[in-house]
Amino acid sequence: MIAKDISTSVKKKDHDGKISGQLAYISDVKVDSMLYGVLYRSPIAYGKVRSIRLPPLPEGYEKIGAEHIPGNNFVKLLHNDQPIFANEWVNYIGEPMFMLVGPKLDILYQLVDEVEVDFEEHPAIFTLEEAIKQKDQTGVFAYHEFGESLDVIKSIEKKAHRVIEEVYETGYQEHVYLEPQGMLGIYKADEILVKGSMQCLYYVKNALISALACEDDEVRVIQSPTGGGFGGKEDFPSMMACHVAIAAKVVKKPVMLLFDRAEDMEVTTKRHPAKFTYRTAIDEQGNILSMNVEVFLDGGANAGLSPVVLQRALLNSSGVYKIPHFHAKGYALKTNTVPNGAFRGFGAPQSFAAIESHLGHISSMLKRDPIQYKRNYLVKQGDPTITNGRFRDPILLEDMIQDLLQTADYTKKKEAFRAFNQQNKRFKKGIGASLFLHGCGFTGSGERDHIKAVVKLEKTEQDQVLIKVSNSDMGQGALTTLSKIVAKGLDLPYEDILFPDPDTKDVPDSGPTVASRTTMIVGKLLERAASQLKAGWQSGVAQEVVEHYIHEDMIPWDEETFSGDAYPAYSWGVNLIEVEVDILTGSVRIERVYGSFDIGRAIDERIVKGQIDGGMAQGIAYGFMEKMTSQLGKIQQKTISDYGPPTAMDLVPIESKLYDNPYAGGPYGAKGAGELPLTGGAPAVQAAIEDALQIPFYQIPVTPELIIESLTKKDGDARD
C-alpha cells in the first residue's frame, strides 16, 4: 500500500506477533544450558560491608560479585557513582551486592535467603526534607541558578502590592510497564551478547564496554520486543546488562535475570519526588511583577540521570508563560533511597503541576477565571525563553484554548456546575484546565555534542529496504512510524520496508529512544536517507546509504550559565477535565476529558491518538490516583494494586484534537509526541478538583484521604 497522506493510519508492523502472543519478549526466551541469576540486595539503607557469609552452594551454583568485574565497578552513565555490585558501601535498601547463578530459580531464592551479611550501619538520609537541610554540606548531584538577579527581584517585591509564596510537592510515580525488566547474557568465545527489554541499546553497550574492559567488537546488544518503557527502561537496563554479562563471562553459559513485579516495584527507578517554592509578586490589578522559583528533586542514592531531569524541570518552571523578572534555581539531591530516573516527561510533569497550580491559586485569590488569567501571559512566536533562547516557530496555543473553551462550552458549564454544587450536598462537580508544552529532543546541544546520531538504510537485491537504527519500539509504534517515513520518501509500499530488531552489530548509534526525539530527530535523518537512496536507486542492486545528524541553527546552549536555546522545537497542549467529587468518601470520578495538541504533523494519526490516550491516562492518574511512598528507605507498595494505576473503569473516552503546525526540522513536519500528553493530566485534574471543592491543594496526588483531610480542615477553619 502506498499512502497518499502520511497521517493515514496503517496496520502496525508487529500487530500479528503481539496479538497472538507469539512475539517473544525476553522472558519467553529459553536457550540451552541457560542459568538464572538472583541478586542479593542490601537490606540496609547506608553502611559499610564488614563480612559476607554464604550458605554452602550446591554444584552448578556460583556467586558472581565485584571481584569478577574485569573493568570498572560502576554503571557508565553521567557521574559513574552507581556500583554494578556494591561491595564496600551500600547506599540504599535493595542495592545489588552480588548475584547467585544456577539452574533452578527456587533453589536460588532459597540460597539468597540464607546469605548473612554483617554491616557497619551509618545514619541514612531518608527524605528530601533532610537532604534539603544538609545540602550545603553534602549530597548535591546537580545545581543550576539562572534568570533575573535576586537584587532586582527583591526590590520589585518590596514595592509590590502583594507577594504570594507557595510550597508545592509531587510524589513518586511508578512506570508499571506491563513487562517487568529482563535481561539475558550469552557467552560466546569472541563476544558477550546481551539481549533484553530496553530503550537505549548504546547506553547498554557503552556500560558493558566499561564494565568488561573490552573492545568495541567484543560486546553486542540486541533489543528484544519491549513491553512498555515510559523511561523506566532508559537507564536501568544498563545495570542488569552488566550483571548478566559479567556472570555469563564467568560461568561461560547464558545467564538470565528476570524481575518479578515486587522486585521491579521495589528497586527500579521512579519519577523523582519534587518540592517547589514559588514566590510571585503582583501589583494591585493582579499583574505579575516577578517570580522566583526553587526546585528540589529527590535523586535517590545515585546521580543516574537526575542532573538532566533537573534541567528539564527548571526549563519548564515558568510553564507556557512569559513572566517578567523570572529567577529560578534548582537542586538534584542525594537520599539513601532507591535511585530515581527517567519517566515520560523527565522532570517537566512535576514543574507543570507546580506552575499550573500556583497560577491557578493566584487567579482564585484575585477572583479571576484561571484560564483567562493565564491567557494574559502566554508566550508568543518570537518571544524569548526563560534562558534567553527564542520561540522561533508559530505558536497556536491561543487558538487551541479558544476552540476548546467553545467545544466544551466552558463558561456555561462552569455556571451549571456552580448551580449543581449549591443544590447538591454530597457530590460536587468541577472543571479544570492545564496549558503546557514539551521541548522536543535532547536538552541544549546534546544531539550535536553527545549523541551525534547516525542512521542507515540498506537496500537488498530484491529491492526491499531495511531500516538500521538503534531505536526501540516499546509500544509507541516506532517500527511503524519510521517505516512509514521511509516508505513515503521512497514511494514504496510500506510493506516493503523492513525493520529488524535493533542489534548493535548491525545498526549505527542513532541515539537512545527517549526525549520525544525518535520521530522528530531520527525520523528526519531517515527522511533524508530515503531521499538520498531514491536519488541513486538502482533496481536489483544491493545499496546502502548513511545520514548524520545536522544541528539546526539556534542560539548556542551554555549549560554553565543556563542560557540559549534549550530545544530546537516545542510541542503544545491544552487539557480540560471535568470531575465529580464525592465529599463523603473523597473519591473522584473523571467525567469528561479533552485534549488539544500541536505536535507539528502526525505521522500516523491512530498511533498518535494512542500516545495521547495512554499518556493522558498516566498523567491524570499521577494527579489523583497513583501514590507511592518510601518509609525509612523502603518502598511501601509491592503490588500493582497497592499502588493503584487506573483500570478501564477509572477512565472515560478522551476527546482529543490535533492542530496542524508542521515543523520544518521534523520529518513531514512532525514534532515530538511521546511525552507531551502525560504532562497536562495532573494539573488539569487538580484544578478540576479544586474547582469542585473550592479548596486549594499543594501537592499531588490529590487522593481521597487528602481530600477528606482538607475538607475537615476547611470545616474546622470555618467554625474557628
Partner: protein, 157 residues
Amino acid sequence: MRVIKFQLNGREVETDAPPTARLIDVLRDEFAYIGSKEGCGDGECGACSVFVNTLVQNSCLIPVGAIEGAEIMTIDGFSQTELFQMISECYSEAGAVQCGFCIPGMVMASAALLSKNPHPTEEEIREGISGNLCRCTGYNMIVDAIDLAAKKGEGLW
C-alpha cells in the same frame, strides 16, 4: 508418579508437575505455550488469562492440581479460531495494540465478554476488561476494538 491429565488447546495432555505448580509455569515451561504472559504473578494484571472450561481466569493463580480433567484454552490455541481473527482485525483497526504485553490476556477477556454478552454497552466493556491492566493505551482504543468486534462479528459470538 501421579500425573495430572487435562485438555490443552484441544489436545489431551498430562503433566507430572507437582499439583502446587502454577498453571502459567506448566503452560510456558513444559508445553512451550508462550502466549500467556506474566505481568505480576498476583492475579492483578490479567496478562496470563486463559479459559478454564470457558471461564476466563488468571493462570498465575491456579495450581495445576486444580485443573485435572478441565479444558484449558490459551491464546496460543485461541489464535487458531475464527473468533480470534475477528478480534485481531478489530484490535488492529482500532489501534488497540501498543507494547503488546497485556494484549493476549486482553484478547481472552474480550472473547469471554463477547461470548457472554454479544452486544455490550461501553460500561459493560469497561467492566469486562477491568481485571486486565494496560499501561500504554489508556484503554479507550481497546474498548473501541471490542465494540467494533461486537458489531462486525454479529452472529459470531
